[in-house]
């Protein structure tokens, strides 16, 4: 035996080893990125340090040095890599089980290695009985074919020295080219459409109707013509060796995601007008808020109207596009991307009907709930969420309208969370006034205004009439008994009508026009109403824990207010309205408050709240 023969023999053996390892490595790369839960993506640790000396590849000497250098730089993990992992200088993690029997493919095996990546679809309610798989579908989305073509014979007619050098060079070149091919393969598997499916399966913990499977064989099963037509081919340049060439190619479907897999999640959209936490959090403190009932019905267009008539505040809508009144004007401007143009622009003088009727119902029923949060504007500590006011500019107006008197209803609300929603209907006017013109309220605190406040209160109950009612008030500039009647009517309607709107809803169109404040579209009437509402608000604040800062200002309004409430507590609503009207007419009555009165009122509020909640739930269903 000439030395050359030995060398060539060993070189041939090395070449065979390289090619065999090439099969292994390529399968590893393919399966690693097609087999969920068994991929390097799921491994966080690094490996390898220990394996650096076990390399048997021709370039192991160079790779080991670099391996130790690079391995030292990376964190070691407890995962023990297999000896093969460092072949071709491509350290991979994970070791798919299918690679156990890869000895089939080696240098002299002419059969190709065919790896089919299969998309398996099955319904979620798949019955795991063996014979039951009616809708299980398996579609081959990728087919990788690796073959070593024995097209050339090994040339052994070299001299010893040159043959060794050339074989070394050949081996080195083979190894280098194999490395390049495997690098390309590694990148290509991540660029093909099937990778998205794999990543989807890996990343999501949801139960999916599809999964990926693979099938390794040595037989190329032809595709049906229809399937083949949908496939594209990508072939890697073969690696030439002295004994043949390594050919790798892939047939892949370009439209994998159309094969009935779960719809891809919507692209996250930036919500330009997202209103932040001030909206969400206050709501949470009002357990009675039927936020869930509202659901996401609030279409953008409905929100503004809900704002008008009630403090309809939807926890979901909180993050939805409607303009929401928030302490920060910028928040209101950052509503969801689906903000409706209507929500931004409020007709300043009219209350257009809600385009989505259901949303009205929704918001109406929850109006009180949301209304309660409305006093957020005030500096009170109440966590009530800001009122949604369509139109970012409205928020600024609302901010301006905030002032001390607003605290009255706010703190009251905070102190009586149980009463939050429905029972606050009567107090709503004050809140409304606070929202819309607190300044004016301040000016006009006084008994005269009480009636106006009350009448405004009731007038606001009606969606469509509120504005008009306000107009009437404005024209008169002072409370009238007639108003109270109409207001009582409206109050009754409010109670009975599932589409009750909180009378204290800030009219968004009011907000649009700074000059037109709650309920009235005339500045004069506005002022008087505001004052009235403010007085009423103060009236209602009589509970001891409430902020006493306003108590000194109005004894009279409070007294009349308590009368109103106590009467409403005990009587049916229509009667309550009448009582209220009566008390309105006798607004001059002054009565000292006692704790007992307060408690009595509290009970009344609770009952009212329950009633209103019932009504609200009815309207939802």
């Amino acid at each position: 035996m000439a030395p050359s023969h030995n060398h060539s023999h060993s070189d041939a053996a090395k070449m065979e080893q390289i090619i065999t390892e090439f099969y292994t490595k390529s399968l590893h790369i393919i399966l690693e990125s097609r087999t969920p839960y068994v991929s390097s993506r799921n491994f966080s640790g690094e490996q390898i340090m220990s394996m650096s000396m076990s390399m048997s590849s021709p370039s192991s000497s160079s790779s080991s040095a670099s391996a130790s250098a690079s391995a030292s730089a990376s964190a070691a993990s407890s995962v023990r890599p297999r000896p093969r992992d460092k072949w071709f200088n491509l350290a991979l993690r994970g070791y798919p089980g299918a690679m156990e029997n890869l000895d089939l493919w080696h240098h002299s095996n002419p059969e190709p290695m065919v790896v089919d990546v299969v998309l398996v679809q099955r319904p979620l309610d798949w019955d795991p009985t063996p014979n039951f798989s009616p809708t299980r579908e398996e579609i081959v989305i990728e087919r990788w074919v690796l073959q070593y073509d024995h097209t050339r014979k090994v040339k052994d007619n070299h001299s010893s020295g040159s043959s060794r050098r050339s074989s070394n060079t050949t081996l080195h070149t083979l190894y280098k080219k194999s490395m390049l091919l495997l690098r390309s393969l590694y990148l290509t598997v991540r660029l093909l459409p099937a990778y998205k499916v794999f990543r989807d399966l890996n990343s999501s913990a949801q139960l999916r109707t599809f999964s990926l499977a693979y099938h390794v064989s040595s037989v190329i099963e032809p595709f049906p013509r229809s399937a083949e037509a949908e496939m594209q081919r990508f072939g890697f340049t073969p690696v030439e060796t002295s004994a043949g060439r390594l050919c790798l190619s892939v047939l892949y479907r370009s439209s994998v995601l159309d094969l009935g897999s779960d719809p891809t999640p919507l692209t996250p959209q930036v919500i330009p007008d997202y209103v932040g936490s001030p909206l969400a959090e206050p709501l949470k403190r009002f357990p009675s808020l039927p936020v869930a009932g509202l659901g996401n019905h609030g279409s953008p267009s409905s929100l503004p109207f809900s704002r008008r008539h009630s403090w309809s505040f939807d926890l979901y809508r909180a993050s939805s596009p409607s303009v929401s009144f928030s302490p920060s004007p910028t928040h209101s401007e950052s509503n969801a991307s689906i903000s409706n143009p209507a929500s931004r622009r409020f007709p300043p003088t009219s209350l257009p009907p809600h385009p989505p009727g259901t949303s009205i119902a929704h918001k109406n029923t929850t109006s009180f709930d949301e209304y309660c949060p409305s006093p957020t504007f005030s500096p009170s500590p109440s966590p009530s969420p800001p009122i949604y006011i369509p139109g970012t500019h409205l928020s600024k107006d609302l901010l301006r309208s905030e002032s001390a008197p607003v605290n009255i209803p706010t703190t009251r609300l905070s102190n009586l969370p149980a009463l939050s929603n429905k029972q606050y209907l009567p107090p709503s006017p004050p809140i409304k006034s606070t929202r819309s013109g607190t300044l004016r309220t301040d000016k006009f605190a006084g008994p005269i205004q009480t009636g106006a406040a009350v009448e405004q209160l009731f007038s606001l109950g009606k969606d469509d009439n509120r504005k008009y009612f306000g107009t009437k008030i404005s024209s008169n500039d002072s409370p009238r008994i007639s108003f109270s009647r109409s207001s009582s009517r409206s109050l009754q309607d409010d109670f009975d009508d599932p589409e009750f709107d909180c009378p204290f809803d800030v009219d968004d169109d009011d907000m649009t026009d700074p000059g037109s404040r709650p309920g009235s579209f005339d500045q004069k009437g506005h002022i008087s109403q505001d004052a009235a509402v403010g007085d009423l608000v103060r009236m209602l604040k009589k509970a001891p824990p409430l902020c006493p800062e306003f108590s000194s200002s109005v004894n009279v309004p409070q007294a009349s207010g308590s009368e109103i409430w106590s009467s409403s507590i005990q009587e049916p609503r229509p009667a309550a309205q009448n009582a209220v009207s009566a008390s309105v007419t006798s607004s001059g009555l002054v009565r000292l408050k006692t704790t007992a009165d307060a408690l009595e009122e509290l009970q009344g509020y609770r009952e009212m709240k329950k009633l209103l909640l019932k009504q609200g739930s009815k309207s939802y269903t």
Binding site: S62, S63, A71, N89, A91, L180, R183, L191, V239
Partner: protein, 216 residues
């Protein structure tokens, strides 16, 4: 050895996309040329639905990021211009007895030209967001379509790289041994502050490299 040159397809990108696109392309090329032991690291782009691979070398990553930052500042000074980044691989040759060359000679054996056309649409976006009134306004749809087009172009460029690497393997020098280098020596050239200087750089490099036939 000849110097293989690959001109990548031009990409039209927006300013905020430059970083991701360049990182993706540069790392993809270097991954092919990092023939030392690598631990590939998959990186998902944020702006596009593309996953590329880094060779896991922290220093290389820093170097690339640095160059990208330089490029971005260059782009900011020269808006709306077509720009080119050149990634060159070279071999370090010993000092050659040529009187007009430097001591250390670089023999470039591969050059990649990344062609970018940076568009400036930032202001249009911000103004549109204020005026948007519908769920998806025309500007948004346009943006989505444009983003999809850029993603498709980026994939094309990546496939172009893969094909080039596959087709041309003979010119790749032997893998450097033992010095712990994971990748071939390379340099990233960005346009300098003036076009003339950039041209001068090219001339300088030509002088350094010399004509292939002049070298042994």
């Amino acid at each position: 050895m000849n110097c293989e040159v690959c001109q990548l397809k031009e990409l039209e990108v927006e300013h905020f996309e430059i970083r991701e696109v360049l990182r993706c392309i540069l790392h993809t090329i270097v991954f092919h040329r990092a023939l030392g032991l690598v631990r590939p690291k998959d990186v998902d782009l944020e702006l596009f639905d593309v996953t590329y691979v880094q060779c896991g070398d922290v220093e290389l990553e820093k170097k690339i990021d640095e160059k990208i930052e330089h490029f971005i500042s260059w782009v900011e000074k020269h808006p709306n211009k077509k720009s080119q980044i050149c990634l060159s691989f070279y071999e370090v040759k010993n000092k050659q007895p040529y009187w007009f060359t430097n001591k250390i000679e670089r023999l470039y054996w591969e050059q990649w030209y990344i062609n970018l056309n940076v568009a400036q649409h930032l202001k249009a976006h911000s103004s549109k967001s204020h005026n948007s009134k519908v769920v998806v306004d025309p500007g948004e749809e346009e943006r989505i379509a444009r983003r999809a087009a850029v993603e498709a172009s980026l994939r094309e460029v990546l496939f172009q790289i893969i094909k080039f690497v596959n087709e041309k393997k003979d010119h790749v020098p032997p893998i450097p041994n033992g010095d712990g280098v994971v990748y071939f020596p390379h340099e990233i050239t960005i346009p300098s502050s003036s076009d003339s200087a950039f041209g001068m750089d090219m001339i300088k490099r030509m002088l350094q490299t010399g004509h292939p036939t002049m070298l042994s």
